[in-house]
Amino acid sequence: MRGRDWINLILPDELILEIFDHLDLKSSRDACSLVCKRWCCLERISRDTIRIGASGSPDELVRILSKKFVNVKNLFVDERLAIPMPVDVGRRRAGSQSSVRLHLVSEMSGSQDNEIEAYCLSDAGLASIGDGFSRIEKLSLIWCSNATSAGLKSMAEKCKFLKSLDLQGCYVGDKGLGAVGECCKKLEDLNLRFCEGLTDTGLVELAIGCGSTLKSIGVAACAKITDTSLEAVGTHCKCLESMALDSEFINNKGVLAVAQGCLQLKVLKLQCINVTDEALQAVGLFCLSLELLSLYSFQRFTDKSLYAIGKGCKKLKNLTLSDCYFLSDKGLEAVAAGCTELSHLEVNGCHNIGTFGLETIGRSCKQLSELALLYCQKIGNHALSEVGKGCNYLQALHLVDCSSIGDDAICSIARGCRLLKKLHIRRCYLVGNRGIIAVGENCKFLTDLSLRFCDRVGDSALVAVGQGCSLQHLNVSGCHQIGDAGIIAIARGCPKLSYLDISVLQNLGNMAMAELGEGCPLLKDIVLSHCRQITDVGLEHLVKRCALLETCHMVYCPGITAAGVATVVSSCDKMKKILVEKWKVSQRTRRRAGSIISYLCVDL
């Protein structure tokens, strides 16, 4: 019946609030608040997350928002994100700020003289956060270059419930961090990145103040934070579970202190070139609960570290070794023998790790679910044979630039790891049809397949995959033997396909595009770049049938013209991004859809 509002008559406030709690997207929440005054009030009460970009007047914005949304728990301020202005103010930092200020002046209630324009969040803004968002639990300030200790202190004094603080690119000083340590007694999570004003003093005070609750600390690119801070962390933060360090100024002493003091450590990520075996040996000795270990770009670690880890950290589940040049098969063997619960392993650019090390992983780590081998020239087919035999629960395999791995390896994986969901192979030039056919025949749960620049793979592989696997994500960029037959098989066999990258396929033509249009209505993203034979005709067939298309990349396609681009724009109303050459976009198309079109930029 017209004019009758059933929902508002029957549902009480509490139920509507509960329904709003399930809304995740800002756009959904904004839409609900436009329905009626009651919904607007209720939605404002229930909103718990606000993200502020570079708005030009963040201090005012915070004040206004804090009056409207009183129950906010998570606040993210990121001055790097430009937000679209309702009025065209030209360059944001030029003198034409008046139009934006006019909009907000009417809301300012007799505040003080604002001669100094605060383009970034300033101390006044932080004070407003403290006043208005006093129940906040999670605060993230990214590149708020005008914020200082005073502001942080005034915020800390009011926000007693703060659990998580993330400062990136802010020049706050030690007093501010010290104040957080004194006032925010529930702080569990601290992340500092590019905070060049902070020295050991501040972090030590915070460690003393919040030591009993701190669970996770991350320090990256803060030049004045040294081992002294870490010694304080080791002494006071007995509940610490996660530590991430990226610094040249931290040495063994600091990491040793954390290892010896924080016995409950579960996650450790180190990118510190001055740290050596000594530190990791301590980790292996003391941190027996360690579950995740990531070592990046260490030139100085040797196998001794891995012996210690294998001996002590029996609960290790996740290991990442990136550019660790001195680690060899022996070290990996020790980890394999000791850490049998390993489920994620990534070996990236460690040139001395070869076939034998991976074989031991295959034999010992039966729970392995994700394996990534990047830039490992020495690892050969036999390694993956063992993994195929032993790791039957493998769900994801990534191989990049592994020039010695070929069809034998892929066949073993296919036959042994039948639960495989994700297979990504890039530039492994020995992988061909035989391996991928085995995947199609055996891996029924495969949803994500990527075979970039594996130029021995051809149509027969895709036919097998189309018959055997219901793919959602397929990338065959650069596999130039693939032609219409392969893609048609995929179109007919994978109706749930939502992402497709067929770029750099010289033999692919319009027939495949027509079949894709018919067979894959759920297609959201497509990359057609460098396909010389695809023309406007094929493109039209595709876009007219795939109504859900959101992105389309079509650079270097000589057969696609301005007419084709216009067709894409007019047929796909959900389109969010088109990548194409600038000269292919007509004036009319630019007027209709300028904001979603990106133009190609070439490297020299």
Partner: protein
């Protein structure tokens, strides 16, 4: 008296010998910072990780090359080319003119 010997190019930072003048295929290339030469062969270099890049001449798989002694990035090596007209570059090296100096001549 001038020395007579093979005409060499060296790394601009540490004078490590990198390539022979006789190995030049073309002097008409564009590097990141200006002119660059295409060489059929280069020595004493470390080849970095492969990357797929869209260059002015099309899509290529390249790997940056750096001096083996001082790690200065000197140019790149073409691993693969995906346009038929660019295939001749595969396996060859680009050295940027600003990064190499004449040695012995």
């Amino acid at each position: 008296m001038a020395e007579y010997g093979p005409r060499l190019y060296s790394c601009c930072k540490c004078r490590n010998h990198i390539a022979l003048h006789d190995d030049i295929i073309s002097k008409a290339f564009q590097g990141r910072n200006g002119r660059a030469f295409l060489f059929s062969h280069a020595m004493n270099i470390t080849v970095g990780r492969k990357e797929d890049r869209n260059l002015m001449t099309g899509l290529h798989t390249v790997a940056d090359i750096s001096c083996a002694d001082c790690c200065e990035v000197l140019g790149w090596k073409y691993e693969r080319a995906y346009e038929p007209s660019q295939k001749y570059k595969e396996g060859k090296f680009i050295l940027e003119k600003s990064k190499i100096v004449n040695e012995n001549w």
